[in-house]
Amino acid sequence: MSETLSPYTPAAEVRQDVDWMPAAGVEVCPACKRVFLIPAQKSKQACPLCYQADLVPQPGFVHQEAPEIILPAQVTTEDLQQKLTKLIEGVPYCVEDLSVKNLMNRAQVVWWPLWLVDADLEGNWTGSMGFDYQVRTAKENFGSQGWQSKQALRTQTRYEPRQGTLKRHYDNIQVPALRSHEKRMEQIGKYDQKKSVYYQAGMVSQNSVQLPEIEPQELLEVAQTRLHNAAEQEIMQASTAQHRQNVKFTGKYLNFNWTQYLLPLISTSYRDEDGGTHPIILNGQTGKIYGKRLASMRKATQWTLGLMAVPALLLMAAIVIFLVAPASLPVELACGGVILFFLALLALLPLLRAYTWNNRENNSIKDFH
């Protein structure tokens, strides 16, 4: 396998403007170490992804070529409001700050990158191609009527060796630009990339843009694997096969060209009662949400205390009665004691519910990428 990496422009250190996003600067989050291109009006604000620290302007490495393709954000304000309303629904003793209004106000579009690689493949290939065919079979039943036979068709695959030459150009083969790419896709789901458009100047100028974490030099092997997969798919198509196995390509990978592809993400956040900030992110195309919804332990405690007041008052009344007339109503007092005990247990329910809810949310949403 050749390891030819055609010339591409390495990321250059910038201190001020980037050609394709004027009036934006490179800023880094001290907490999550993510690097962004931030428009001037949003400079030094909280990190748009982790919200754990304010961004700090500092020189960074940015590719001067504009992104090649962009997937426009398709979640409308109404969609967003609907999704957030649904998100908050059912949260017991919801944290004060976790409201649709607050989340809507803080919502912002953040673009995140993928690498697109173009290359030429030239060489020989070998492999097994699978061809579907149908065979006649039968389903047989034996019962009171004797044997009943029913003809059926079964699809089988026949693998045959094939080989050949390949001289094809592949465009826009996607290669992750973030180390957390797969996890993020798991969290907010896949994008329908058919809706992508060519990038035009100004399309992202008002929003934060996350910069790639992995440079093309490091991705050569991944890129070749993905190009190989694309070639395999085409070889199968060229062979009019439906399946493939053990396809091997021996040849050159030439004329690499790396560009960026930007995907939309909507991020917002809320504060809990201890001052901690919790991010919520949405797929900018499908609206799939990822983020934890915390219950307010303070509210739950208030409810518990409120409910505890009833048995406490009754207990005090019982004590007074007992002190005034110690010998009277012993059976009624015993019953009252049992009831008071159960009322006290019931009063613990709000606290217990909030605790288990938060526990579940914290367990299900651990990493935030």
Binding site: E122, V135, T137, F142, E160, R162, K167, K252
Partner: protein
């Protein structure tokens, strides 16, 4: 970097649906066109024929011999699937093979609608005929089992068979002339398949109860049958399930069935040389009909397997849901010697498995012997009863003899019935 694949002898370029990608596939193994061959002796110009003694080609005039290289393929002999395309061809009728046999010597068109692909012309005796000609390669046998039993071994095999059994005339082995055995390659369909089925049935369980009988004021036991539902799953592999392809009117299927088994691991790749001077029959029973016949037997075996799988063989309301997988078929030629002998003016057919030497056929039944045996079986009982009767009438005793006689009579009756049944079965072959 790119290798010139067009020079590869084993692959040939095939159509590609994308520019920039060439596709090479293995060259199809071209079926050697089975044209008419004249088997002429290189020494004297006489006719060559397959010699069963030397297992090679031999000239009947000058004794020239040519060895035949057998390529044993055994279990790897090519199997075909029941693909939709194949079966559509079967439905349309492939059976033109038998209409196209042409004698190179006298020009006779051997039109055998019912099947023989004779390699010697019945008109002129020439062995220069088209061995097989058909519209589709699928119809031609891909493998055969060569004859292992030499003609000189046949007499020994058949003599022992003729002497076997007491129901036949004593003079049979001495007077029956079994010296004209014709070697035949008979068509067989060999099927392989995996079956799996779920069964459900009510299975009889014998239960013993203790109960109190009020009338006798005692505890008693009784046995009753309790039906319990059971179910199970069974899988079974059938390999080389043979169905003969000859019309039952031409060759006795009951005799053919008795010639099994054939050792299919000895299959060799089809070579027309094996057939020179030996008769071969194309199939009369087509693939669909043969597969239908095989499935009928498989179904019965499945039913039997389901019953065996139950905890007791006594079952009722049995239901089976069965499916097949990996169904394959092969069309092969298997070696059989066929002979007709005459006894008291009547023809009898005998066949010998050309691989194992197993003999089976029709044999006359000596009904005098059979009736004598039946009488002998009944006689002890009858005699005892006949002695017992006067003793009762005259002396008032003899009940024991009558009773013993009846037992002997019933036993003798059963033996007589078995003898009669066997005799009729053997005669019906």
């Amino acid at each position: 970097m790119m290798v010139n694949l067009s020079r590869n002898d084993e692959f040939q370029q095939v159509a590609s649906t994308l520019p920039g990608i060439t596709v090479f596939a293995p060259k199809p193994k071209l079926e050697e066109e089975r044209k008419a061959q004249t088997y002429t002796c290189p020494q004297c110009g006489g006719y060559l024929a397959y010699n069963l003694v030397t297992s090679g080609l031999a000239c009947q005039h000058c004794g020239y011999q040519a060895t035949l290289r057998a390529h044993t393929i055994g279990k790897v002999a090519e199997k075909q699937e029941f693909t939709v395309d194949t079966m559509a061809q079967v439905d349309q009728g492939w059976g033109k093979l038998r209409n196209l046999i042409h004698c190179q010597q006298c020009g006779a068109e051997l039109s055998y609608p019912q099947g023989a692909v004779a390699t010697s012309c019945p008109y002129c005796g020439s062995n220069s005929v088209n061995v097989t000609v058909s519209e589709s390669n699928l119809f031609q046998p891909k493998a055969l089992i060569p004859f292992s039993i030499k003609p000189d071994q046949l007499k020994q095999c058949t003599q022992a068979w003729l002497q076997d059994g007491w129901m036949h005339p004593s003079v049979l082995s001495g007077s029956a002339r079994l010296d004209k055995f014709i070697p035949f390659y008979l068509p067989y369909w060999a099927f392989s398949t995996d079956i799996s089925f779920d069964w459900e049935a009510e299975v009889a369980h014998t239960v013993t109860d203790r109960y109190y009988e009020a009338s006798s004021k005692s505890w008693k036991t009784r046995t009753r049958v309790e039906w319990r539902w059971e179910n199970g799953t069974v899988q079974k592999n059938f390999n080389n399930f043979l169905v003969n392809g000859v019309n039952a009117k031409r060759l006795n299927p009951r005799i053919l069935d008795e010639l099994y088994p054939f050792d299919m691991s000895k299959l060799v790749a089809f070579n027309a040389d094996y057939l020179v001077g030996i008769n071969a029959n194309a199939y009369d029973v087509d693939l669909n009909a043969a597969w239908g016949e095989a499935k009928t037997k498989i179904r019965e075996e499945a039913r039997e397997l389901a019953i065996e799988d139950a905890s007791n063989r006594q079952v009722r309301n049995l239901s089976i849901d069965m499916s097949y997988a990996n169904e394959r078929w092969r069309y092969v030629f298997l070696p059989v010697y066929i002979a007709i002998y005459q006894f008291q003016g009547k023809n009898y057919q005998v066949m010998v498995n050309g691989q194992t030497g197993k003999v089976f056929g029709q044999k006359p039944i000596d009904w005098n012997k059979v009736w004598l045996a039946i009488i002998l079986a009944l006689l002890p009982g009858l005699a005892t009863v006949l002695i017992g009767l006067p003793m009762i009438l005259l002396a008032g005793s003899g009940m024991v003899l009558i009773f013993l006689g009846l037992i002997l009579l019933v036993s003798g009756g059963a033996i007589a019935f078995t003898i009669y049944k066997n005799a009729t079965r053997l005669e019906a072959i």
